[in-house]
């Protein structure tokens, strides 16, 4: 693992972030202006995993959310290789971002947000169904992932909202890996997992890389980070007031 900024140059880049800046203005809290980051730039190639590091509050999750289009960036661009062209999450229209998210850009967040009554099997197979995969085939893939992540079969027909934290996280991971997204954002994917499931998730990340997926992740677990990530990017180098690295 190295600290350099460039991707391995033998693979095509899939994610290119340039000059990204973010400030929160809280109008209902005396117009407080909170600068989050400026001039954030990074590139990730196919088959490469990059870890975002930095102190708590440095903006790792905020950067991740900007990459997914969940937070709005004030400056800069977030170019994602989408089919045969590039999409810019920072400037794209909502429908274009949804299109990117459906096919190209996956995100495993720390939170599971689902409609209460929907079964775990449907939650996991949904990303495939949305892409037009036959529901039976999509469910087959979901079963395979849930089995691999040790979610007991008795829980599959139930809503994951009643599950433990670790189970919910594994359902979230299964959902994020159901479709092979070319670009994958992982926010603490191993945070509340036991050793066995942690190993499984790290294996799954390595397999995704071998398939050419570009991964950006936040891992507090230093050992996991060393195992799956090729490079680290210290987000605090994008702090406002610093000159960009």
């Amino acid at each position: 693992m190295s600290m350099d900024q460039g991707p391995r140059n033998d693979r095509p880049p899939l994610i290119e972030v340039e000059g990204l800046g973010k400030t929160f203005t809280l109008y209902n809290q005396n117009d407080a202006v909170i600068p989050v980051m400026q001039n954030a730039s990074l590139r990730v190639a196919a088959g490469e995993a990059v870890a975002l590091t930095g102190e708590s509050g440095a903006g790792k999750s905020s950067l991740m959310r900007m990459l997914y289009g969940n937070y709005r960036a004030q400056t800069g661009s977030i170019r994602i290789r989408h089919r045969e062209h590039w999409g810019d999450v920072a400037s794209a229209e909502p429908h274009a971002i949804l299109d990117l998210r459906r096919e190209t850009l996956g995100y495993v967040s720390q939170f599971l947000r689902v409609i209460p009554r929907v079964s775990t099997l449907d939650v996991v197979s949904e990303p495939l169904v949305r892409l037009g995969v036959e529901p039976t085939a999509a469910q087959e893939k979901a079963r395979e992932l849930l089995t691999r992540l040790r979610i007991p079969q008795t829980l599959w027909p139930l809503s994951p909202l009643t599950f433990s934290g670790g189970e919910q996280q594994r359902v979230n991971i299964a959902r994020g890996f159901a479709h092979r997204f070319p670009c994958l954002l992982l926010d603490e994917p191993t945070a509340s997992l036991d050793k066995l499931n942690r190993e499984t998730v790290l294996d799954m990340i390595e397999e995704a890389k071998a398939d050419g997926v570009a991964v950006i992740g936040i891992f507090h677990d230093a050992e996991a980070r060393r195992r799956v990530c090729d490079r680290e990017i210290d987000v605090s180098s994008f702090a406002v007031g610093r000159t960009a690295a």
């Binding site: 109008y27 209902n28 959310r65 969940n70 429908h95 949804l98 209460p116």
Partner: protein, 258 residues
């Protein structure tokens, strides 16, 4: 969602004398897209919905709809019979209070069948079996087909209203607080049902709600209204998690959890 625009709204305005219902509202809606319109009571969201769905004549602006045949139509220039035909065929409306969308003295099956007959269905057996299919889609037991909605619970009435609205296979559905006034457990079931039907039939939906959690779960995109104006619009999760306008920030921070 297709990238094809089916509804184009420009500068739509509704004034009640000097009072503003809604003003200069412009947006486009794509095929199979769900757009939530949120805001507090009196923000103009229901006025907007009623203008869009042809139930209230706007004071100004334009409204065009691309029909199933691919032709654009100026909705505000339609004659009353043309407008009524459109709202019975390619459009549908789901009211907050099922009593506004149902005939309470007609059986459940009759409620669905009546909407089909309004567009020309005549064969009794076909109508009855299609009505039974729709009741199954909205999870109403088959043995309730001949019961009147007066004998139904609130949640079941709302599901019946949805069956009635969808029975003519509309492309564009207007929904006014469809889960309002229902118990939380009933709401969850209805949300799941609406989302399933919207995906299955690739419906375009304009959904008015004050419930941001409902918007998050159902809508691709949302518009925030205040005092008759759209103050912010964008991707649903972006507007909810990183609202840019002072009023959107207030709205999002005022609720406990979405």
């Amino acid at each position: 969602m297709s990238q094809e625009v089916i509804l184009r709204v420009e500068e739509l305005t509704k004034l009640y004398g000097a009072r503003v219902g809604c003003r200069n509202v412009s947006f486009e809606l794509c095929g199979a897209e769900v757009l939530a319109v949120v805001g507090e009571s009196g923000s103009g969201k229901s006025t907007l919905l009623n203008c869009l769905s042809g139930q209230l004549p706007p004071s100004g602006g334009s409204l065009s709809y691309r029909g199933a045949n691919g032709h654009w139509r100026d909705v505000l220039a339609l004659s009353e019979p043309e407008r009524r035909l459109l709202s019975r065929t390619e459009w549908a409306f789901v009211h907050q209070d099922p009593r506004d969308g149902l005939r309470m003295t007609v059986s459940a099956g009759g409620n669905v069948g009546e909407r089909m007959m309004a567009v020309g269905a005549r064969h009794y057996g076909t109508i009855r079996s299609t009505a039974a299919d729709w009741l199954r889609q909205v999870e109403i037991p088959q043995d309730r087909l001949d019961d009147r909605p007066t004998a139904f619970s609130g949640g079941m009435r709302q599901r019946l209203q949805i069956a009635r609205a969808l029975a003519t296979n509309p492309r564009l559905v207007f929904m006014d607080e469809p889960t309002g006034g229902l118990d939380v457990s009933v709401q969850a079931r209805l949300l799941d049902l609406i989302r399933t039907l919207v995906n299955q039939f690739e419906l375009s939906v304009i959904l008015v709600t004050h419930d941001l959690a409902v918007a998050r779960l159902l809508a691709h995109r949302m518009m925030v209204m205040k005092d008759g104006h759209v103050v912010e619009s964008g991707l649903t999760d972006q507007v909810l998690d990183d609202p840019q306008h002072p009023y959107s920030q207030l709205l999002v921070s005022s609720i406990l959890q979405t």
